[in-house]
């Protein structure tokens, strides 16, 4: 076991945080917090829809489902029963860059969570019958998503805005791939990416750090390192002109979604754009798990003032999410009945153009920063959230960057906001999508 660093005197996101890497490459982050007798254990894998190709789109998400279906040492039933008997809350999710699994449970059941996660890393079964039954479950999850006009529009806009990079397909995959993928495809995907040197294990809660590290070594130390997966090398080329898409389906309400190309989290433009977004519609945290995205713009924000106030739309939201490679900046609106599409577009694009022309005044900038700082404080409230944040950022970048965010927010100037707005919200780089509801017959 090699100790990378030990930070005893830091505050905020990294207070008491211990970061250790095992000989097999597994990164471990432990942070004791003693307010409730609980522990949250998250195991993160650096694999998501970015690691797929046409033919196996949706493989990462399906693998996640299969990894709840039993291992050599723990049956499918026992997996659930043991966690729930310990009062545990458990789940997993897959997105573009990452797949993760967690248990938040009574602190004296820490070893149970470690046992489950170590089995999940190397010993999952992929029983052919289970795989077939999961095929229908995932297809019905896809059909459930497709009941939602917002989802349909999001998929259409994403696929139009991104042409080359694998971020272009939805995490759940295309239907025909889900219908045709084989056990070999899925098991191969699992074995390629579920190796200790492609994972981060995060433990936060009512635990003792050194005892926890010993327990982790015992459960994970014997799992051999694998070949480090090849990073995605595809880069999106610059978009040279507006793209437009329309979805026409039976429905009741009209929706707009506009997407621009956004910087990766590590890019110097990310934090300035995050602040610019806070000025535009209100500050959102960087925690996908806690939600808050899709929330209506703040009432004193320019986007609210130009769209909700004049009663063009009932809801407008915008977001930039931290990702490993450049992804999308999106603006979404629920249009009021009878309002012309052109009026909504003019209001959105006029607001963006104004931000590209004039830097925000001192109060608007201070307001945006306060909102982001408050959102970061809210994200630190419970151990499950704290553990999520550490693992998320360690998977897409480095966990240390999370602790640097408050200082980086403070460093953004009004002119940085104007510059990034002008660079990132160019008309030639946008994709405009409309969901036009058709009369339900």
């Amino acid at each position: 076991m090699i100790a990378l660093k030990s930070e005893g005197d830091m505050t905020g996101a990294t207070a008491d945080l211990e970061a250790v890497t095992l000989d097999n490459g597994l990164e471990i982050l432990v942070r004791p917090i003693h307010t409730v007798p609980l522990v949250s254990v998250w195991c993160w894998y650096h694999v998501g829809s970015k690691d797929e190709a046409p033919g196996i789109t949706g493989a990462s998400h399906w693998v996640e489902h299969m990894n709840f279906k039993g291992t050599r040492g723990i049956s499918r039933e026992d997996l659930k029963v043991w966690i729930e008997r310990a009062g545990g809350f458990w789940n997993g999710y897959t997105w573009v860059d990452q797949t993760t699994y967690f248990e938040t449970l009574a602190a004296d059941s820490l070893d149970l969570a470690l046992h489950i996660e170590s089995e999940r890393m190397a010993e999952c079964l992929y029983d052919p019958e289970e795989l077939e039954s999961e095929r229908s479950v995932i297809i019905s999850e896809l059909q459930g998503n497709e009941n939602n006009p917002g989802y349909l529009l999001d998929v259409e806009v994403g696929a139009a805005a991104i042409r080359a990079h694998p971020y272009r397909w939805p995490t759940i995959g295309w239907l025909s791939d889900l219908e045709n993928m084989t056990r070999e495809d899925l098991f191969g995907h699992y074995r390629k990416y579920y190796v200790p040197n492609n994972a981060t294990l995060v433990i936060v809660g009512d635990v003792d750090t050194s005892a926890t590290l010993r327990a982790v070594e015992k459960r994970f130390g014997q799992i051999p390192a694998g070949e480090r997966p090849r990073p995605v090398h595809t880069r999106e080329s610059v978009q040279e002109g507006e793209r437009r898409v329309v979805v026409e389906r039976p429905g009741t309400t009209k929706y707009l979604q506009v997407a621009f190309h956004a910087p990766a989290f590590r890019d110097d433009d990310f934090v300035p754009l995050w602040v610019a977004d806070a000025v535009l519609s209100g500050g959102k945290g960087v925690n996908l798990w806690s939600g808050g995205h899709g929330r209506n713009a703040r009432t004193t924000s320019p986007l609210y003032g130009s769209l909700v106030e004049p009663e063009l739309v009932s809801v407008v939201s915008s977001a930039v999410l931290p990702t490993e490679a450049p992804y999308l900046y999106t603006i979404s609106a629920t249009v009021r009945e009878g309002v012309a599409e052109q009026a909504v577009e003019e209001a959105v694009f006029g607001t963006l153009a104004k931000m590209a022309d004039e830097p925000p005044d001192d109060r608007a900038l201070r307001k945006a920063k306060n909102q982001l700082l408050a959102a970061l404080a809210f994200d630190d409230e419970g151990i499950t959230q704290v553990a999520h944040q550490l693992g998320y950022f360690n998977t897409i970048a480095r966990h240390e960057l999370l602790a640097e965010l408050p200082a980086r927010i403070e460093a953004v100037t009004a002119d940085d906001v104007r510059t990034v707005s002008a660079a990132r919200w160019k008309p030639s780089g946008r994709t405009v999508g409309w969901f036009r509801p058709q009369e339900i017959s």
Binding site: R85, D108, Q143, T252, T334
Partner: protein, 445 residues
């Protein structure tokens, strides 16, 4: 395994760390406070007995409309001025109504606590219902109503409520109301509803976070002392803040199973809501029902229902059951999302499980799993400020006592296999269900 009488966990029990203060202002407002130093944040939550169950079928949506207006202008500040305070501090403030209570809630950095207390009090006590904002909110509500009509989960649940509650029962209608009632509500109706129901003696204020007891007492007195006590209501009266809600009428399951199908051909998946009126929170069987429902439709992703309908038969993407036990007999509901071809088979499988749990005793192992899960999951309700605030409201609303978390493991641990069977026999009626289906479904029969 044996059920420990103390809460499970680390070096001290969560009950020891959970040590709320409670005091009552001279006007009757009850205040509960729990300190949580984990993060420099605080949650403030005021709940008032002013929910949708105080409406009539002709005034549905009034409580929701009224409470939604509280943050849209007061006698001192416009909506923009309120927004400016919230936006400058990065705080959140929401106002909404449920079936029983309405309220104002806020989340802020603890440095902004005093300012947020003022704002919560101002919104709850002195809303001005500006005419232009009323019209704007009406437009927003009508949009949501139309969106909901396109949402299979919402449509199936609304259908079930109409099937199993009489039209004048307060659990029959939608919280948001319908196009007709929402179009009709006048500004004065909202102000009148507020004046009648937003009273100090029927309210509870909960504060959780990185703030101290003295701060909480001072701010509560400063911000809420002006809320007049009712002349005819003695403060802290025996009936408690939620006396008005104790009168939610009884409701029985329909005499025979009844069906409602909303055909939504454009959808890919069908949602099913199936059930009937359930129990009140005060029912003596509450804990036995909680354990029984854990086994039936919750434990390890949907209990027996999840195991049979989702796992073994692969017919549903999700399925689970709930008992909404409250001031009145809230619904017992089984919900499932299924492929349109599987609707009838899924309904049949659900009925088989309902019949099974009320005819044969559950296995000892199932009972132990369920009680262990209920007891050990209790600390999770205390993880976040919001979770703590919700727990305190529940304790206060249903008069459970501040030592409730200590008592809870004993109450659950005492439930036997026979108690579970009796609870299922008394409270699940597979021949008297409402079955509500929404989606691309065509009846084969």
């Amino acid at each position: 395994m044996t059920i420990r009488s103390a809460l499970p966990g680390g070096r001290e029990s969560s009950a020891a760390r959970f040590s709320p203060d409670r005091f009552v202002l001279p006007n009757g407002l009850a205040v509960l406070h729990q300190s949580n130093p984990t993060s420099p944040a605080v949650s403030i939550s005021l709940r008032v007995a002013a929910g949708a169950c105080l409406e009539s079928p002709e005034t549905t949506g009034l409580a929701n409309f009224c409470s939604g207006m509280l943050k849209r202008g007061t006698t001192r500040r416009s909506k923009q001025e309120i927004g400016e305070v919230l936006d400058f501090t990065g705080s959140h403030l929401g106002s909404s109504a449920g079936r029983h209570t309405a309220g104002v809630g806020a989340k802020a950095r603890s440095a902004d606590f005093e300012q947020m207390m003022e704002l919560v009090a101002e919104c709850a006590l002195t809303p001005s219902f500006p005419a232009a904002e009323v019209e704007r909110m009406r437009g927003d509500l009508l949009t949501v109503i139309r969106e909901d009509e396109d949402d299979t989960r919402q449509v199936s649940m609304d259908g079930l409520r109409r099937l199993v509650y009489a039209p004048d029962h307060p659990y029959a209608w939608r919280l948001i109301g319908n196009e007709e009632t929402v179009t009709r509500h006048h500004r004065d109706d909202l102000a009148e509803f507020h004046a009648r129901h937003f009273r100090a003696h029927s309210s509870v204020l909960v504060i959780v976070g990185a703030v101290e007891r003295d701060q909480v007492m001072l701010a509560s007195e400063r911000c809420f002392n002006d809320w007049p006590a009712d002349a005819d209501e003695a403060p802290g009266q025996a009936a408690g803040p939620f006396a008005a809600l104790q009168e939610v009428p009884a409701a029985s399951p329909p005499p025979n199973t009844v069906r409602d199908v909303s055909i939504m051909p454009a959808k890919a998946q069908a949602d099913i809501a199936l059930g009937h009126p359930g129990i009140r929170r005060a029912d003596a069987d509450y804990y036995a029902v909680a354990v029984m429902n854990m086994i039936l439709g919750r434990f390890a992703m949907g209990g027996r229902l999840g195991h049979s309908v989702r796992e073994e038969q692969g017919m549903a993407y999700y399925t689970f059951s709930t008992f909404d036990a409250s001031f009145g007999p809230g619904p017992f509901v089984v919900r499932a999302g299924v492929h349109p071809d599987n609707v009838d088979a899924a309904v049949d499988s659900i009925k088989v499980e309902l019949e099974r749990i009320r005819t044969a005793a559950v296995r000892e192992e199932e009972l132990e799993n369920a009680t262990s899960a209920l007891i050990h999951s209790l600390p999770r309700a205390l993880e976040t400020n919001e979770g703590l605030a919700t727990t305190l409201h529940t304790i206060e609303q249903f008069d459970l006592g501040l030592d409730y978390l200590e008592k809870y493991p004993r109450l659950i641990g005492a439930i036997t296999v026979d108690d579970v069977l009796a609870a299922a026999r008394n409270h699940i009626h597979p021949g008297r269900l409402g079955v509500s289906i929404a989606g691309p479904y065509s009846e084969h029969a």
